[in-house]
C-alpha cells in the first residue's frame, strides 16, 4: 500500500513539472511583460535594464523557469503586476471562495448521485430509471453557461416579473451591506452550485448506476443468492460495498476536474473565486498571477488523482492487504467495477 502510493507520487512529480513548464512557455510566448513600460517615452532605459535583470528576462526560458520554480516552491509567488499585492494573498482569498462552491457541489452531488444511481440500478428499467437516464442525457448535453442563463431567466427574471420575489441572486457572494449574512450567502450560492451540479450529478449518478449494475451481474452476487441471502442484504452488503470503490475514486478525480468548471460559473455569476481571479489576470496580462494560478491548479489536479489512488487502495482489500502487486490503475475504467468483478 505504501509502495503503491509512493510509486504514484513518483510519476506525479514529473507530470507537475512538465505541465507547469508548458504553462511557463505559454506565458512567455504571450509577449513581453515590459511592453507597456517600454513604450512609455518617459521611462528611463536604466529602469528597464533593472527590471529585465530583476525578472531575468534576458536569460533562456529554461533558466527562467528554474528561477520561477524555486521561488514558487518556497512560497514566493511574486507580486501582481496589476494590483501590486502579493499573489499569495490574492489567490488565498479566492481559493476559499472557490472551495465553498466546489465543496458544496461535491457534497450535494455525491448524495444525490448515489441515491439516484443506486435506485436506478436496483430498479433497472423502471420509470425512475428512465427518468434518471433522461436527466443524464440532459446534463451531458447542456452547456453549463447556457444552463446558468436559463436558470437566471426562469428563477430570477421570471419570478421577479410574475411574483415580485427575489429568491436568488446572480452577482457576487453577498448583497452589499449583507456581508456575513448566511441566508444571503446561500441565496447567492444556490444558482452557481445548481449549475455545477448539473454535470456532476448527471455523470456520477450514471457512473454509480453502471458500476452497480456491473457488480449486480457479478458471479459472487449469484453465489450470495445461492446461499439464500435476502436481496436487500445482497444490495447493501455485497453490491454497494464493491460498487462504491470505483465511485469514490471517480469523485476524487472529478473534484480536480471541477476546478475547470468553476471557472466558467464564477465568471457568469461574478463569484469572487479563483476563476474570476484567473480571467481578470489573463485580461490584464498579469502574468505572475496567471502562472501561480495554473501551477496551483495542476498541483490540485494531481493531488486529487493521488487522493483517488489512496482511497482506492484503502477501499480495495486487494491493494490494502495485497500479496501481489497492486493492479495499475491505468484508467478510471479499470479502477471501476469490471476490475472488481474479474481481477
Amino acid at each position: 500500500m505504501r509502495g503503491f502510493v509512493a510509486r504514484r507520487l513518483l510519476v506525479a512529480i514529473p507530470v507537475v513539472l512538465v505541465a507547469t513548464f508548458v504553462v511557463f512557455l505559454l506565458v512567455s510566448a504571450t509577449g513581453d511583460p515590459l511592453a507597456d513600460i517600454r513604450t512609455q517615452p518617459a521611462t528611463d532605459p536604466q529602469t528597464i535594464r533593472l527590471l529585465e535583470a530583476q525578472y531575468h528576462l534576458n536569460d533562456p526560458v529554461v533558466e527562467r523557469y528554474v528561477y520561477w520554480l524555486g521561488d514558487f516552491v518556497q512560497g514566493d509567488w511574486g507580486t501582481s503586476f496589476a494590483t501590486d499585492r502579493p499573489v499569495t494573498d490574492m489567490v488565498g482569498e479566492a481559493a476559499w471562495n472557490s472551495f465553498l462552491l466546489v465543496g458544496t457541489t461535491v457534497v450535494l452531488s455525491v448524495f444525490v448521485a448515489l441515491l439516484v444511481g443506486i435506485v436506478s440500478a436496483v430498479r433497472q428499467r423502471s420509470a425512475f430509471d428512465y427518468a434518471a437516464t433522461g436527466f443524464s442525457y440532459f446534463g451531458f448535453s447542456m452547456p453549463d453557461f447556457f444552463f446558468a442563463l436559463l436558470l437566471q431567466l426562469v428563477l430570477v427574471v421570471w419570478l421577479r416579473e410574475q411574483f415580485d420575489v427575489q429568491l436568488f441572486y446572480v452577482q457576487g457572494k453577498y448583497t452589499i451591506g449583507e456581508e456575513g449574512n448566511l441566508v444571503n450567502l446561500l441565496q447567492h450560492m444556490a444558482l452557481p452550485v445548481a449549475t455545477l451540479m448539473l454535470t456532476t450529478v448527471a455523470a456520477w449518478s450514471r457512473y454509480q448506476r453502471d458500476s452497480m449494475l456491473d457488480v449486480l451481474r457479478a458471479d459472487y452476487i449469484r453465489t450470495a443468492r445461492a446461499k439464500g441471502v435476502p436481496r436487500s442484504r445482497i444490495i447493501r452488503h455485497h453490491a454497494l460495498r464493491n460498487a462504491l470503490i470505483p465511485f469514490v475514486t471517480v469523485v476524487a478525480i472529478d473534484t480536480g476536474v471541477l476546478l475547470g468548471g468553476v471557472v466558467v460559473v464564477e465568471r457568469i455569476f461574478s463569484w469572487p473565486g479563483l476563476g474570476l481571479v484567473f480571467f481578470t489576470a489573463l485580461e490584464r496580462s498579469d502574468y505572475p498571477v496567471v502562472l501561480a494560478w495554473t501551477a496551483l491548479a495542476t498541483v490540485f489536479v494531481v493531488l486529487c488523482n493521488l487522493g483517488a489512488d489512496v482511497v482506492y487502495g484503502i477501499l480495495d482489500p486487494r491493494i490494502r492487504v495485497g500479496r501481489r502487486a497492486a493492479p495499475a490503475r491505468k484508467s478510471s475504467r479499470e479502477a471501476g467495477a469490471p476490475e472488481v468483478v474479474a481481477p
Binding site: F145, T200, L213, V257, G261, S332
Partner: protein
C-alpha cells in the same frame, strides 16, 4: 463545461466499453457478420436514430440552408431587436442582423471545428494508445499515467491562456491564429485525445495476445504492419464510439471558450460568442440567448444519442436500452 474536458461524461461512457469484450465479439476474423448485427442493433436503437435525423437536419441547415439566408453581418439598423417572426425566424440582434443566419453560420464553424478535432484527436489517441498497448512495459506505464493526468488538467484556463498568445508561426501551416477555427481545432485536438488513447490501449493489450497476431508475427510481419493491419481494424468499434463523443466534447469546449471571449471572435458568429453577446440583454431579448443555446444543446444531445446507440450496438452485453 471544462469538466467535460476532464470529461466524466466521456469517461463514464468510454469506460463502459470493454475493449476486451468488444474485441471478443468483433475482433475475430469472422467478425463481418457481427458488424452487420451491430448495424441492425443500431437501427433499432430509437434515440440513436433520432440523433442521426437531428444531426442530418442540423448539418443540412448549417451547410446548405445557410446559403439561402441573408448575410450574418448585414446590418439593418431600422429593425433592431425584432421578435422572432416569419421574416426573421430567430429575430434580429442589436444591429438588426438576422439571428437565424447568425446561428447557422455559427453552427457551421462549431461543427467544422468539432469534426476536425474528432479526426485529429483520434489520430493522436490511436498512435499513443497503440504504442502503449503494443509495447507495454515502462512505456505503457508512462504514457497511460501521463494520459490520466492530461485528461484531468484544468483545460479551459490553459486553453484560454494559449488562445491569448494570438498568432503563432507553425512552419508548414504558416501563421495560425490560435483563436481562429484552425487554431482552435489544433488546440482542442491536443487536449481531447485521452479517452481514445485509453480505449485503443486496452484493445491493443488484449489483441496482441490473440492467435491471429501471433500468426502474423510468425510470418514476419513488422510491428507497424501488425498494428495497422491487424490490431487497429479490430478495435475500430470503440474508436468510432469515442470519436463520436469527442465531437460532443469539442462542441461544448469550443462554445464555452468562445462564450468566455477566448475563442472565435465577433463579428464572425459562433454559437458561443452569440450567447455571450446576448448576456447583457437576455432579460429583454430572450431569443438571442435561447436559440444559439438550444442549437448547442440539441446538437450535443443528438451526438450523445448516436454515441450511446453505437456503444450499445457494438457492446450488446449492456442490457441498457433507453
Amino acid at each position: 463545461m471544462s469538466m467535460r474536458i476532464g470529461d466524466e461524461s466521456a469517461r463514464t461512457r468510454a469506460e463502459s466499453i470493454d475493449p476486451l469484450l468488444v474485441s471478443n465479439e468483433m475482433a475475430t476474423p469472422e467478425g463481418r457478420s457481427e458488424w452487420r448485427r451491430a448495424l441492425r442493433r443500431f437501427r433499432r436503437h430509437l434515440p440513436a436514430m433520432l440523433g442521426v435525423v437531428l444531426l442530418v437536419l442540423m448539418a443540412f441547415a448549417c451547410f446548405v440552408v445557410v446559403r439561402f439566408v441573408p448575410s450574418p453581418t448585414k446590418l439593418h439598423l431600422a429593425n433592431v431587436y425584432a421578435h422572432p417572426s416569419s421574416s426573421h425566424w430567430f429575430g434580429t440582434d442589436e444591429l438588426g442582423r438576422d439571428s437565424f443566419s447568425r446561428v447557422l453560420h455559427g453552427g457551421q464553424i462549431s461543427l467544422r471545428i468539432a469534426l476536425g478535432v474528432a479526426l485529429l484527436s483520434t489520430v493522436v489517441g490511436v498512435v499513443i494508445g497503440a504504442l502503449a498497448g503494443f509495447y507495454g512495459g515502462w512505456l505503457d506505464g508512462l504514457l497511460m499515467r501521463f494520459t490520466d493526468l492530461w485528461i484531468a488538467l484544468p483545460a479551459l484556463p490553459i486553453l484560454a491562456l494559449a488562445v491569448s498568445i494570438g498568432t503563432v508561426d507553425l512552419g508548414v501551416f504558416g501563421g495560425v491564429d490560435l483563436g481562429g477555427p484552425l487554431g482552435m481545432t489544433l488546440l482542442l485536438s491536443l487536449l481531447l485525445w485521452g479517452s481514445i488513447a485509453r480505449v485503443v490501449r486496452g484493445a491493443t493489450l488484449s489483441l496482441r495476445e490473440r492467435e491471429f497476431v501471433d500468426a502474423a508475427r510468425a510470418m514476419g510481419a513488422s510491428n507497424t504492419r501488425i498494428i495497422t493491419r491487424h490490431v487497429l481494424p479490430n478495435c475500430l468499434g470503440p474508436i468510432v464510439v469515442n470519436a463520436t463523443l469527442v465531437v460532443a466534447e469539442a462542441i461544448l469546449v469550443e462554445t464555452t471558450l468562445s462564450f468566455l471571449g477566448f475563442g472565435i471572435q465577433p463579428p464572425t458568429p459562433s454559437w458561443g460568442n452569440l450567447l455571450s453577446d446576448s448576456i447583457g440583454t437576455f432579460e429583454d431579448y430572450w431569443w438571442l440567448t435561447v436559440f444559439p443555446g438550444l442549437a448547442i444543446f440539441i446538437t450535443v444531445l443528438a451526438i450523445n444519442f448516436v454515441g450511446d446507440g453505437l456503444r450499445d450496438a457494438i457492446d450488446p452485453r449492456r442490457p441498457v436500452r433507453v
